[in-house]
Amino acid sequence: MAEEVSSQMNSLSISETNPSSSATISLVSGDDIVFKVEPTIAKEMETVQSFIDETDGKITTIPLPNISSHDLPYVIEYCEKSIAGKITKEFEAEFVKKLNNEEVKELFLAANYLNIKKLLDFLSQVIADRIANKSVEYVRRYFGIENDFTPEEEAKLREELAWTFTGVDPDDEDEN
């Protein structure tokens, strides 16, 4: 019962340079949504490309259980821009503007799973910028890290690093 959502890409320029563009690749998200993309897009995703290569291109439907249908369109959009050589600062700023911190994290993990180096690199900088002024508690939650200090150890370390605790943003409850 897979629903087909074709990517919103403008395939015109790609089909001109690639005559065999009819052989589209189907990417299936974890929640069973199918996204049809040009093979050139798949090339940007190393994980997908190596899957295609391993099967000598016979299999063109690729399940991506770790990627949700919410994230996949973003990934595809970024890859399209990347092929077109149109990754600009303006595009990147616009790209993440509407994403909250949790969504950026998901995309970051998706980029890691798909092995898209450029996107991974870009999103790690976005996350760094967004957590730079966050509290230690926020960062623990965000990274899913257990506090393994004893209260005494932590208090001591905080005292030593007191100079780093100025100008920290208050934790936002409705961050997501």
Partner: protein, 324 residues
């Protein structure tokens, strides 16, 4: 529509899926559960290596393994790669070095500026070798490379000039005194004058380097029996490499660059693997030039500086070299 209901659960469910095995079928199970995704260390490091220093130090309080980040060679490598990749965000860490050496009062202070407010400045203690005597301190090439500053100090004892450089990382408090070179004091018929010192990074060899221009003046009372023709007062261009931890003389023809003394301060600037400073191209110190030294290939370039007004007496011109 069916589509929108499919898209409904979105990221809340997705997070819990990430922790499971990549099997799509059982992922649906966890849809309603919201849990924190653990970002693996390697990925976390790639984010942390892009943080400003102050944030990075604060997040040492996150966990035991994070408190040891600066001792983790893997992480330090990432941090260094990021610093050298030149892709740092504009917010960077800004340091302020204040130095006033008007005798008898001296004042030296080193601050980290944060949150764009001067009130939020954080004072740093200078490295121990500079604390003993904090006069005439300066930062070589006005630059911080991969977290390291090179503090320079010129002192004069009687007729003898000495130069001392200390590599210093304010974040980790690591420091190292750069050894002096054998050419500084011998032979005794001459005394060195340190015209210029620059600090830079060799991207090709992953090496930190210092470059300096030494000129010599005669010291008559320590004269030996050496015949005049054997004496050399030719200026030297010396380079220090942290990897070899030693100085060596650069065999570069310097007939063209005569003197640097009129260009104050003599510390120059460093940008993208090249040290730049001001010099003159002729004996009379009139024709100014920009001297640039490529720290990786160890070659000199010279760019003539056009004087604005020929009628102006050059003695009264003060040139400053800055990076915009």
């Amino acid at each position: 529509s069916r589509l929108s209901s499919q898209l409904e659960p979105k990221h809340g469910s997705f997070e819990s899926k990430m922790e499971k095995s990549p099997a799509a079928s059982d992922a649906i199970e966890g849809i309603k559960v919201r849990s924190n995704v653990h970002i693996p260390d390697d990925l976390a490091f790639s984010i942390l290596s892009k943080l400003p220093l102050k944030s990075l130090k604060r997040f040492e309080c996150v966990s035991k393994s994070w408190s040891l980040l600066f001792e983790n060679p893997r992480f330090m490598n990432m941090l260094r790669n990021h610093f050298t990749s030149n892709k740092r965000s504009d917010y960077g860490d800004t340091f302020l070095f204040l130095s006033a050496a008007d005798s008898p009062l001296t004042y030296v202070a080193f601050y980290l500026l944060s949150n764009e407010k001067f009130e939020n400045r954080i004072k740093f203690d200078l490295p121990p070798p500079c604390q003993e005597d904090d006069t005439f301190l300066y930062i070589l090439s006005s630059v911080c490379i991969n977290g390291f500053f090179c503090m320079g100090q010129d002192t004069r004892r009687g007729l003898v000039n000495t130069f001392r450089a200390v590599l210093w990382n304010p974040a980790t408090s690591d420091f190292m005194v750069i050894p002096s070179s054998p050419d500084e004091h011998v032979p005794p018929y001459r005394s060195p004058y340190f015209d210029f010192q620059g600090f830079g990074y060799d991207h090709m060899r992953d090496d930190y380097k210092l470059i300096r221009y030494i000129s010599f003046f005669p010291v008559t009372d320590e004269d030996e029996d050496m015949p005049l023709e054997d004496k050399s007062y030719e200026p030297l261009l010396e380079i220090y490499s942290l990897r070899s931890n030693s100085w060596r003389i650069l065999e570069i023809d310097m007939l063209d660059i005569r003197d640097f003394t009129y260009a104050q301060p003599r510390i120059g600037v460093y940008l993208d693997g090249v040290c730049h400073w001001l010099g003159t191209r002729d004996l009379y110190q009139i024709e100014g030039c920009l001297v640039s030294f490529d720290m990786s290939n160890e070659v000199l370039f010279m760019t003539p500086i056009l004087d604005i007004d020929e009628s102006c007496d050059l003695i009264f011109i003060k040139r400053h070299l800055v990076v915009l």
